[in-house]
Chain length 268, copies 2
């Protein structure tokens, strides 16, 4: 039993050698977590058109607008955001490669949240019309997108709990745990360490703290020896202790994948 255990996701379904580093991370994630066939994955990948670059700080999707595409983060970090009257800003979600920015626009007229690129991002686009076609002919894909919606919902609920009931330090530690697990599913971690290219300002909008207090909280966390954050690389020195401190459990991220599906099959 190593003193510093490290997070480990099952990678049984992943064939690293067959994937170029430029592979769509959403596809990578679904290959790992869903039971979609290679066929389905390829159809989906083909439907994602033209990754285009969005510079940091600019909107991927403006607040209150409609859209006819789903935006998918290919590389870089983004966030859903909401501006309050007096200029306060809150991120209800942080988006990393493989995340859908605005799937809710598929059925909702307007997204009342904007999506902003926190770093320079490449974003690919999946037209609603095309996705509807695909979902019609491939029910498994439809289920996967619904599943993704549920997972997002679970993350959102967990953030609500954190903001409502956890202290600043716990909240931040919890976020670092969440990010390790989520980044691991798209192979953006290196052991217990990952690149965290956000500014403290941006982090503070995610955890609902002022930038000043975020800075101090970060120092407390560093001081406790649980993590370090130098340059923009976050390292978790003691995963078990950080998990324990922040009361983190990866359950809500549903990293174990889709329900195995006897019931679904039985029903069809």
């Amino acid at each position: 039993m190593p003193v510093r255990s490290s997070i480990q996701l099952s990678r049984s379904r992943v064939r690293l050698t067959t994937r170029s580093p430029m592979t769509n991370p959403l596809i990578a994630r679904l290959r790992l977590l869903s039971s979609l066939s290679e066929d389905d994955l390829q159809i989906l990948e083909a439907a994602c058109t033209g990754p285009q670059t969005v510079p940091a700080h600019s909107d991927i999707q403006a607040e209150g607008r409609g859209t006819e595409h789903i935006h998918i983060v290919q590389s870089g970090w983004a966030a859903r955001y909401r501006l309050l009257r007096d200029g306060r800003r809150q991120f209800p979600a942080l988006l990393i490669p493989g995340d859908l920015c605005d799937i809710d626009a598929l059925l909702l007229n307007r997204t009342h949240f904007g999506v902003v690129a926190l770093t320079s991002c490449t974003i690919s686009v999946l037209p609603h019309a095309r996705l509807r076609e695909i979902m019609e002919s491939r029910p498994a894909i439809r289920d996967v997108f619904w599943w993704l919606t549920f997972v997002e919902n679970a993350i959102s609920a967990e953030w609500t709990v954190g903001l409502g009931a956890r202290s600043a330090e716990e909240r931040l530690a919890h976020l670092f745990c969440e990010l390790l697990v989520r980044l691991a599913t798209v192979e953006m971690t290196d052991g217990n360490s990952y690149a965290l290219p956000l500014t403290q300002d941006q982090l503070s909008d995610a955890v609902g703290l002022s930038a000043v207090h975020l800075n101090r909280t970060l120092q407390d966390l560093r001081g406790s020896g649980l993590i370090s954050l130098d340059g923009h690389r976050l390292t978790i020195h003691n995963w078990e202790a950080l998990k324990d401190f922040s009361d983190f459990s990866a359950d809500y991220l549903h990293v174990e994948g889709l329900r195995s599906g006897e019931n679904r099959r039985a029903a069809h």
Copy 2:
């Protein structure tokens, strides 16, 4: 222009005379907000089995369990909850008649949130297997359930924003606005007033405040003349002012109903 304007939802599709007071509130809500046919509504209503009574304070769905049914609130108030190690509790969602308690269990193995009855509730049950059958034969119903998921998601995001960026008083005022609109869709309001059967303890778990501070915040709100809360009836004396104070906009509740659907039709 009345000084105290009152909230008004379009009720054009509702035929009040044809509905008994015992009608399934989920069906009532969908009749109002979705474009489901009367046929679809009836199929759905028929699939909701045996409303059963759950006493206040007991679990409708235990934390971390799986389930083979969707639980639907018929009457009474419930909440999704999450317990933290040290006993703190947070509600990521408040559930009123017509709400689905645990639709995510349809695709997720376990719900990591519990559902508790806040008052005595009647809960009806929709078996997953049956719902899957129905969704297979009635795509419109499938879309409506996905739409409901998105709306929940939007509410959850809005709560995140509130907890992260709004003051105690704004947060509480915002919740009162939200509840007015949501209750109006199931006809549980009387003008700008509604029964709010929750204890202050329960309210405090929804807005992430201590019970003591919730009490004081409530008094501030009462003192400002915007609302009153006597017995368990909440009255909003000045809807516009309360909306303005809490920066509330009903957009995120999507009370205007499903997207009109040209795109959906075009794709099929």
